[in-house]
Assembly symmetry: C2
Homo-oligomer: 366 residues x 2
């Protein structure tokens, strides 16, 4: 059968998600598992979202609203745009793929950072785009000139994760503005702001504040991180009405389920809950970082809800050892072989991780 | 912006779903709306599925199980296959697109019936496949020889909706076996059985009974129709482990949400509920068909949960008139301009439709 698959897909390394807790429980027979692997929000969604799902009238037998009317209207109000400027996706993951399919013609070129979210590369490979993965420099920060230098006359797409997964680094407001203004007109700039709610640096700005700087701009947001709704798969694009019109040519009409639409709208309406869980996470991010530095490890300063730690030996081995301690983190691929990424959990989860890491590092050689 | 979209997509007529009830309420200010447009199951899902969603421990902040372990194991038991032979999708809609992307290389050719489910054509266009839409003959039945005649040396995919949407017609067991055995080895036969639970003709057979007839076979099933879970977007492919492995190269890891996985597993476990709602629908299909014939209209004998009716004038106008009566059905494109498709609803919904249709037809000229 394999000889039937399109040849360019044979090279594709499928995205490897964080190990689900249940899987570890099954595999190792460990009951008490802490998952700090997928940058989920341990405080969960707004109780209003849970409430909305328990309302009796959800009509599970009916197809979802294909236009996501109520959620898009709520998002339009939240962002000060029109509903026509919003496109919903089955997580922002699906939207990255959709953007590659709609705007990436064959032979076109894409630019993105490395290391960054793997879906930009997967989407490009799937669409047979040529691409340049621009290495982040030694300090793991973005360099806007490096990105601009990678742009060729064939470049149609540029993806930036800001703050960046997995490094936690960001492009400051001035630099982001410069990037958006400097790109050639034909390039669609895709700014993936999955972690934007956790960014608190003074010189950070969401691309939503810089929409005047560029027409060809797609801003990606998600309900899977700070809004605590990863289970329900809701992401969205903010762009021009023309961009959204083009995405809708190929978007499947029922790509976002009813419960996702309902819960996301309710969660959006509870900004105080969002603020509280973000504040708790930012506090713990600081504390966790300081504790790691105090043990002599290097960390990347993070604007996300995760911390990248240089464990100064094979990160994969440390990851495996932590699994046996019941703690799931994420091992990193090249060039971060000596790093692991840990999600900022609740205080007790972070303690559990810190103690487990201490035991693991003591038991292993550098 | 539009000049950025890939040129082959500009020709794409996006799939037009049935009008959502809320939209009609908004547009016409009608409160009492009956939706018989999307072949949904009016009896809803098993109470066990609803129950499963109300269980407290769903952890909405966690990503779904990317491998869909529990649901795939349950499906494996149900179908007598291994979990490795099953691939879950965000509705079977996503899986049709995924099949086109994974197995349809550029320049390849696809074959499907016409009129049939529009997603085979959309998936082919999106992937720039050449295709042949094989017209169903005047009696709206499948003709296996017509399908086989359309196969060229470049054909890689053949899609059959069985029973067929929107005609309700089917390929009898003997003929389906002949088709599966006669196709050249390189062709992947995709048998879309979205409506299989409603088929009761003596000479009907699900492709699951004919898996020995062909290795390159993908059988599509969905929880959106008879299982009453359209809101949650769960479909699946049954195939060889090799086929599923190839689909997983490109399948997004979190394409099926947690609540969909949980509810589908619970619904699968309640076969008596499924049987009861299928029986009620099949009874009403018979009654509705007879009532339509009694008024002098022609219908296509249906094995699905819908009936295609020749209204002997512009179907689009009858559709619009029915909207004003608060009844949503589906108008058909060429060559079915004089037909409408009506979902078999509950007895009172079907009565409402019959009376509304009578009024509409009286008020309009042939």
């Amino acid at each position: 059968m394999s000889d039937l698959a399109a040849p360019h897909l044979l090279a594709l390394t499928a995205y490897e998600p964080g190990k689900p807790e249940d899987e570890l429980r099954r595999e190792l027979g460990i009951d008490d598992v802490v998952k700090l692997a997928s940058n989920e929000n341990p405080y969960g969604p707004s109780p209003r979202a849970v409430e909305a799902l328990r309302a009796g009238s959800l009509q599970l037998e009916r197809y979802p609203d294909p236009r996501g009317h109520a959620l898009r209207e709520a998002l339009a109000g939240h962002h000060g745009v029109t509903a026509e400027q919003l496109c919903l996706g089955n997580g922002s993951n699906e939207l990255i793929d959709l953007i590659c399919r709609v705007f990436g013609g064959r032979g076109d070129h894409a630019v993105f950072g490395h290391p960054s979210f793997p879906c930009y590369r997967i989407g490009s490979v799937a669409q047979e785009l040529r691409f340049t993965a621009v290495p982040l420099r030694g300090d793991l920060r973005w360099n806007v000139d490096d990105l601009l230098d990678a742009v060729t006359p064939d470049t149609k797409l540029l993806f930036v994760s800001n703050p960046n997964n997995p490094t936690g680094s960001y492009i400051p407001k001035r630099e982001l503005g410069r990037l958006l203004r400097s790109l050639p007109d034909r390039v669609l700039a895709v700014i993936d702001e999955a972690y934007v709610e956790y960014a608190d640096a003074e010189d950070f700005a969401a691309a939503t504040e810089l929409r005047d700087a560029r027409e060809r701009l797609a801003i990606l947001r998600t309900f899977s991180k700070a809004y605590g709704l990863a289970a329900l798969r809701v992401g969205y694009v903010i762009g021009t009405a023309e961009l959204v019109f083009d995405l809708n040519r190929l978007r499947a009409p029922f790509n976002v389920g009813t419960l996702g639409q309902v819960a996301a709208k309710a969660a959006l309406g509870d900004q105080p809950h969002l603020r509280r869980s973000v504040e708790a996470t930012v506090r713990e991010r600081q504390r966790l970082g300081e504790a790691l530095v105090a043990t002599g490890l290097r960390i990347a300063p993070s604007q996300g809800n995760f911390v990248l730690v240089d464990v100064q030996r094979a990160g994969r081995a440390v990851y495996e050892d932590l699994l046996r301690e019941g703690v799931i983190v994420r091992a990193m691929a090249a060039p971060l072989e000596s790093w692991i990424r840990v999600t900022v959990g609740k205080p007790e989860e972070n303690e559990r991780f810190l103690h487990a890491l201490e035991r693991v590092l003591k038991g292993s050689r550098v």
